[in-house]
Symmetry: C2
Subunit: 472 residues, 2 copies
């Protein structure tokens, strides 16, 4: 069963972070998983929907325009006496989706007497600074940055403290997964006066510049394939040359187009590159190959089986459409802009440590592509300047959790930095599994991780109240 | 002698911070002292001048324009082995002026084996993002914020670490006085990965919103006048009514215009208000009144003596010009914009705790005036949201020094917050006296303050190197 189950499992477990658009790995652009696999809340969520008027530009005073930031509140378990507020730092998508898929917060609300707040990230969901024009050009997109998003969270928290009776003197905790996990960690670093701590689940805060090797992501993907059964990764590694050999002539192109049931037949080398990119992107999330010693044609027929499971699980589609990708549902447009500005994450492959065709990380081409697409140029070292890179030991009260199966763990914090900047590893975990609702199939390691996370959060809450009592 | 000496002494000791433009206290706008009194370096300073290309907008990607930030380096005493870098976070003025007037850094360079860096604040001195157009309108001024200035410092420090052999693995310490002191403290709070600590001299980081009473500044000014000799503050308090009584008719207006040797005679109530504002502003920096039981006319003739000492010390001027103020030299224009945007510091007087006419703090009028002058509206609670207000105890390694004579100490941190966020009080100190060069006339308390500051800085440096050794 290995490969097929892993396909669905990974699909279920890896929503969240889009990865940027490396020129040589274009197919990886916007690595989200479609919500169709993942939007099944395992707890019944009841929340109220609110809107808060935010400045479009927190960092300049010429533009006084505002927009409505959406946020959700669930206070069934909140207690004004000794309670807390769990604040989800929304990432690249509709906040309702994150609300429904962050079962962990719902599961622990009662124990922590917690109000849950889910704040939508600007430029996603309904929180569009310029409505339908928000993505029109670089002028309208100019306010889509992590700094502006963090400032939204800060101003919103101040608003909540001021307007919800009882919230003023309660500890707020930031939580998030993936890019939202980075935001949670960065929020604690930059606004420690507003949250007593942060749970940053699967947050690859080191996937920038050369802090980690650019090949680490695809290497972990490959390792996952190796674990899932014999020959999976070997077959994929072989498939690139098989494709290259087969498509040297027209007959091969036709054969392959048919074998893969492509809606649009392959016509030239460019189409073939596009195909390989599309397949690469799919492998990042799934796998279906275990036979060895196959001929090129047998191998590629197997590849079709795998693709078909992924893109045509219901069996309804008559052909596979390469313009449909595994990640097209979440806020891809916004993330593509963010990847072209601040969120410059270098990716590369060498075909040795990983099962992909070798591709260097090429900033120049990447930058040119960004300029063509958005009229902006990436600033690859900015995030490190702003948020400190590996040099973050002076901060406190951040939990970094990572699953060993998650390729994003390669850019994450997987060792304790200090006794209040702690790493939690979930050996059987994929992308922020710990943020999901408790589930009968959960591996023991994720249950342990969640209980450890609760333990830390309780400690922060206790420290907060102890400090408060000392003041009075 | 009291009053006259105090006048010159205060003038010498209180450069640095401009205070904003409270509507009822317009005369206080841009409280700098003129450089003519203060620009006499007491150490011979030798530095090299450099320029670094900075993004005009660190927080948006549409604008890719750059400008040259000026900075000064003095490395006579720097040691690559075990040395340090003292980084002056420039404030509202020409960086050469701060370089020449921050003798403390020059005095301790050898002991700390330190390189000195003085970084100019954008929109001041030669670091003008749009050259001569920088102050033209709100569009050009849009990038004049503390956040952009801190980002300049961050990017500059990374550049220095990258390009100066030996600097990479050395501890940087931020230092600044007044607004520069706020920047030093905020820089350590926001970029602790770039500086191991900060000396924030006379930094009124709490002079925002209602963190401290709006009357505290003028109350301390009044206390200073009381200390300087009998009747000083009482006479000033009486002078407002004396002016009001005398100027009820034309004869009184003429008499007063002549008594004060005004270049432009007083014609109406508006002129009289302008006069009182102008005198108020002058008192904030100096005093010349000690007789009691004077008639209105005698009193006002004494007031003239005081003004004349301040504005016509050389005796060359034939009349006093109200458009010349005590604070017109430093970067007033830039500060006036900053006061109208982020740096909203409420000031008020009640005539009881202080010697001024009662004036409420009136945000509405203030805001309207700002909009008229600059086309922007102040955001009075932003600085607190951004930098934490009183809730800063999670940060580390900041020294807040304040002089008891300094009215800005009212908004400063004057008690230890934790054992690494410490307050140093200099009972006989005025505005960041501790940053000045050692001087034969220094009170003992400032010598103690300076040695304590050096002690803390040495500790930070030791901790940095201990940590570095542990890593290797």
């Amino acid at each position: 069963m290995g490969c097929l189950v892993l396909l669905l499992l990974l699909a279920f477990l890896m929503p969240g972070l889009a990865i940027p658009v490396p020129p040589a790995l274009k197919a990886l652009s916007n690595l989200h998983l479609s919500t169709s696999f993942t939007s099944r809340p395992s707890v019944v969520t009841k929340y109220s929907i609110h809107y808060f008027e935010q400045k479009i530009d927190h960092f300049g005073f010429k533009n006084e325009k505002t927009f409505n930031q959406r946020y959700l509140i669930a206070d069934q378990h909140w207690r004004k006496e000794g309670g807390s507020v769990l604040f989800y730092t929304g990432n690249e998508g509709d906040i309702i989706w994150f609300c429904n898929n962050t079962g962990f917060m719902w599961d622990v609300a009662e124990e922590l007497k917690a109000m849950l707040v889910f704040a939508e990230h600007r430029y996603y969901g309904q929180s569009l600074p310029f409505g339908a024009d928000s993505f029109r050009d670089s002028r309208h997109l100019n306010f889509l940055t992590s700094e502006q998003a963090l400032a939204d969270f800060a101003v919103l928290i101040k608003h909540l403290k001021r307007t919800i009776p009882g919230a003023e003197n309660q500890p707020f905790i930031a939580l998030g997964g993936s890019y939202g996990g980075m935001l949670a960690a960065w929020f604690r670093m930059k606004y420690p006066h507003l949250v007593v701590g942060a749970l940053a689940a699967s947050a690859p805060i080191w996937q920038f510049e050369d802090i980690v090797p650019c090949g680490v992501f695809m290497k972990i993907v490959t390792t996952d394939f190796k674990r899932s059964g014999p020959n999976c990764s070997e077959n994929i590694r072989s498939s690139w040359d098989a494709i290259n050999r087969l498509t040297r002539n027209g007959t091969g192109l036709d054969w392959l187009s048919e074998a893969l049931h492509l809606c649009t037949p392959l016509k030239n080398a460019q189409d073939v590159q596009h195909l390989k990119d599309w397949i690469s992107e799919t492998w990042v999330a799934c796998q279906y190959l275990k036979n060895s010693n196959l001929s090129d044609r047998e191998l590629l027929q197997n590849i079709f089986q795998a693709l078909n499971v992924y893109y045509n699980y219901s069996g309804q589609a008559r052909c596979l459409n390469m313009s449909e990708t595994s990640t097209s549902n979440l806020g891809s447009l916004g993330w593509s802009y963010q990847a072209c500005t601040e969120m410059v994450m270098p990716f590369c492959t060498n075909g040795i440590d990983d099962m992909f065709e070798p591709h260097l990380w090429d900033l120049k081409t990447f930058s040119d592509d960004c300029f063509k697409q958005w009229g902006v140029k990436p600033r690859p070292s900015w995030i490190t300047s702003m948020y400190g890179g590996k040099n973050i030991s002076s901060h406190t009260n951040i939990i970094f959790s990572n699953g060993d199966l998650d390729p994003w763990s390669g850019g994450g914090v997987t060792k304790n930095i200090t006794n209040t900047l702690v790493a939690i590893i979930i050996p059987e975990g994929a992308h922020h599994l710990d943020l999901r609702a408790n589930n009968a199939f959960d591996p023991m390691t994720v249950l342990l991780a969640r209980s450890l996370e609760v333990k830390y959060m309780k400690q922060w809450i206790r420290d907060f109240y102890a400090c408060l009592r000392k003041k009075h």
